[in-house]
Symmetry: C2
Subunit: 515 residues, 2 copies
């Protein structure tokens, strides 16, 4: 009995909460527990500002450890203020500088001391997807179609942990990976007929005509077994091709971080939440614990769900059961409501396994003395006593504290993509899509966010382009709170969020939008 417990002593240490910062704020974010694994504070010198969207390419110097979104266009002095944990000044795009597409509102604030810099990152871009030139040597594709393409609008938040490298790189690159995936689909998405099931040899897309042909003939589509073809062929929509493209873009982004993490100094990982507007539809892709909601005519429409050890418990337990070697003899795939003491062997304790949502009693066996794969509740829930989110980008080197047990096999880089068809409803200027990192949602719930949105918007003219920025700022300020003797406090005197907070407020209708 004693050995497993003795061996898992480091886990006990890793599980212990980091004491609150000197200013007394909430600091039980997901990053601290993995803090020993990333670059420590001061490992990289802060740098002032950074290049534009695609600046930090292969062969360029390591990205700065501290930078803010390019669209903020911060001066060196503003950057210094943005990095000040004491003042926690709210940052937003300024009047007179570049305005975000659709007059999108944005605001952010640094944490209250839980990490040296703001580990959130953001990106907002309009991206042209140019059809990929036909591959050389491919006879079946049509020439001269190189200029075809379409635009998509893109907003994304990245909430980094255990270092800012992954979040910085993802904020610079994810939209490019999405663009790359969509390039394969330019003609197919622009053709109203159903996407071809099969493409000809060695082309990326070819022309739509070729595709149709290939579908029916080139691929030898002769109904076999004399069963009508419609029985055997699944219809695939344009929408699901876009979803697939976004899903694979996340995967390629994660692979790029894996490849370049050594040379580019990309410690840690990040949650990613991206909204893509394409051909009349919003695609909201979420991998992590950020959140997106639409507020339409006062009604709240959830556009994402969070991926945490609690929400993904069954997937994680299932994997651990099938691949016990990933647990390194330190963990059990069963969940228990608390740690078991060796002397409790033979008693009955509540548990649940990968199949259960309820709880039942089981007799405690030797193996149950290991540390549970999933442990803790709510914001304190951890997988392998290490990480509080179970989807995201990066974390390729993340290990259980003081062990050789890798976390990455349990993490998924795949987002859940939800679709909202903007053309199905006539939107007014007060209808918005709100994206926020967990710093917002930890202290302000959906209803409160909707309340702030409506309250602020009514105090500005519907055609005032600043109104969405004012909403974003107000959401950040109300979630951060005000500095009092006993730390940052909300209006109700509860603790404000001590985490980094980042918010996009994207208008869905009204004058001046959709450009």
């Amino acid at each position: 009995m004693p050995p497993p417990l003795a061996r898992s002593q480091p886990l006990e240490r890793a599980l212990r909460q980091v004491p609150g910062s000197s200013s007394g704020h909430q600091t039980e974010g997901k990053a601290e527990l993995a803090a020993g694994l990333g670059a420590g504070p001061g490992a990289q010198p802060p740098a002032e500002g950074r290049g534009g969207g695609a600046g930090a390419g292969r062969g360029s110097p390591p990205p700065a450890a501290f930078c803010r979104p390019a669209f903020l266009q911060l001066t060196p002095e503003e950057l210094r203020r943005a990095d000040d944990h004491t003042g926690r000044a709210v940052q937003s795009p300024r009047d007179g500088r570049r305005r975000l597409p659709w007059s999108t509102g944005y605001a952010e604030v640094i944490n209250a001391g839980k990490s040296q810099h703001n580990e959130d990152q953001a990106c907002c871009e309009v991206v042209f997807v140019e059809q990929r030139p036909s591959l050389r040597g491919c006879l079946s594709s049509r020439e001269g179609s190189g200029e075809k393409g379409f635009y998509f609008h893109y907003w994304a938040l990245f909430d980094g942990h255990a270092g800012s490298g992954a979040a910085v790189m993802a904020s610079e690159r994810l939209h490019l990976h999405i663009c790359e995936q969509l390039r394969e689909l330019v003609e197919i998405l622009q053709d109203p007929s159903p996407p071809p099931i099969c493409l000809p040899h060695d082309t990326q897309t070819g022309s739509a005509d070729t595709n149709q042909m290939s579908n029916a003939e080139d691929c030898g589509e002769v109904p076999n077994d004399a069963v009508p073809r419609f029985h055997l062929e699944k219809a695939v929509s344009h929408e699901s091709l876009v979803i697939g493209a976004i899903e694979n873009a996340f995967k390629h982004m994660d692979e790029q971080i894996e490849r370049e993490r050594a040379s580019q100094h990309l410690p840690g990982g990040c949650c990613a939440l991206a909204a893509i507007y394409l051909m009349g539809k919003f695609y909201v892709a979420n991998a992590g614990d950020s959140r997106a909601i639409i507020i339409r005519n006062g009604e709240i429409i959830p556009m994402s769900r969070e991926f945490t050890p609690e929400t993904e418990r069954q997937r994680l337990q299932f994997l651990a059961l099938l691949r016990p070697e990933l647990l390194g003899k330190e963990f059990t795939h069963l969940e228990f409501p608390r740690r078991i003491q060796p002397k409790e062997l033979g008693k009955k304790m509540l548990y649940r396994d990968q199949n259960m949502n309820g709880w039942a009693y089981k007799k405690i066996e030797e193996d149950d003395l290991k540390f549970p794969l999933i442990f803790g509740e709510g914001k304190k829930a951890r997988m392998m006593a290490t990480i509080g989110v179970t989807r995201g980008l990066g974390d390729h080197d993340l290990k259980v504290f003081s062990s050789n047990i890798h976390i990455k096999p349990f993490l998924s880089c795949f987002p859940e993509v939800r679709v909202y068809d903007l053309t199905q409803y006539e939107h007014c200027p007060d209808d918005v899509l709100v994206l926020g990192t967990d710093g917002l949602w930890d202290v302000t719930n959906d209803e409160e966010v909707a309340g702030v949105v409506m309250e602020v918007l009514t105090s500005y003219e519907p055609n005032d382009p600043c109104r969405y920025t004012m909403v974003a700022q107000e959401l950040v300020v109300r979630s951060r709170g005000v500095l009092k003797e006993r730390g940052w406090r909300l209006a109700n005197d509860k603790l404000g969020s001590g985490d980094d907070i980042s918010v996009f407020v994207i208008p869905l209708g009204g004058p001046g939008n959709y450009t």
Copy 2:
């Protein structure tokens, strides 16, 4: 290339739809494709009626191949009529015979010829859960508490496939397994304080006092690491203990079928849908493609979801990826919209894997020529070309047609349990819980069911105990349709359900109920 395709010829055959019956009804149910694996028609002689709920115990003769629910109290003549595929007479509890608890309505009808007998089964019981007598030799438990206990109400539908044995046994036993699981919890559920995390050595429950003591002291619950205990201990509700008990009851039921399938002649498997009313709450447990909805004040509240190759695709693909040996070199874990021809090797085809909800193109490789694990759409979707439901009881011997590839590792016997708190809302006599097998829902959607419920109920007095039976009958008749020249037809002239249809209509409020 040819070998995989040649090897999978039997799969092609298995996938082929069984032609419609002579009367032209829908027969593409989930059972036919596995038909070669269960007992063939006539393997067991029909028997008239069967014993009560717990009649067919160990050592008793093999259960009859054909029987109807005991609560119908059918005479031999009525049983013969119930087994007639041509007349398809609707069966209900008769006036003057035993009335179901709460005046529950029930109706059923046999299929139009897709299997020899009605493979649906049903059960409705009021079960007393008696506290388990303390185990001999256990010092810590209190004596003289043997009479403690409580009742639960129970309604369940079982939709069998490839034989009726599993459905018959489950209809006779599942409630007993639920009772057995709950016996462990009698005192805990009757004690308003939170359930103890840990029970003393070798007791089943002991008294609540003992439990509380054991929780705090007996288990040596001394806060370790000087972290307050509330940080380390998860609260578990009474409700989640009941859910856990129901989940484990399904597992034990499945294990019993596995143990006794040879001696008791239990071919095939069954979907199971059970509603348990206990201490003011409904627990609706579903494993398969039956469905439960609540209709409350005209509003529809879904109380289950279906488990099919389409809804569980990602779980199944994930398992196949991690355990490729389960696929027997015949199947690929990837999904394609149609079969790939060997000559398409090197072309690009749409696919999706265990991580994706969208579709993307991939270059076809040798391995992709295998048969997809999941194939087909809607009611025609099959796992391994064999089965159209992915949760349920039984099917321990089910194999892919003409192969040695087992299906059972992919099936789950665990239900999803949803809870509805009856005390949170004042129910009127027209509020009901409807349970139905897929024979109902295939042709009648939620809204139509709600419409029939409201229409029929308004034509009977609120205190008429027959009104819920009238609703159940009407639901069955409208889903079966009327026999015309071109088969069974609905009012809109569409094909009626050719499947077995079984329906419970359970009133949630009103006079005479809750007894």
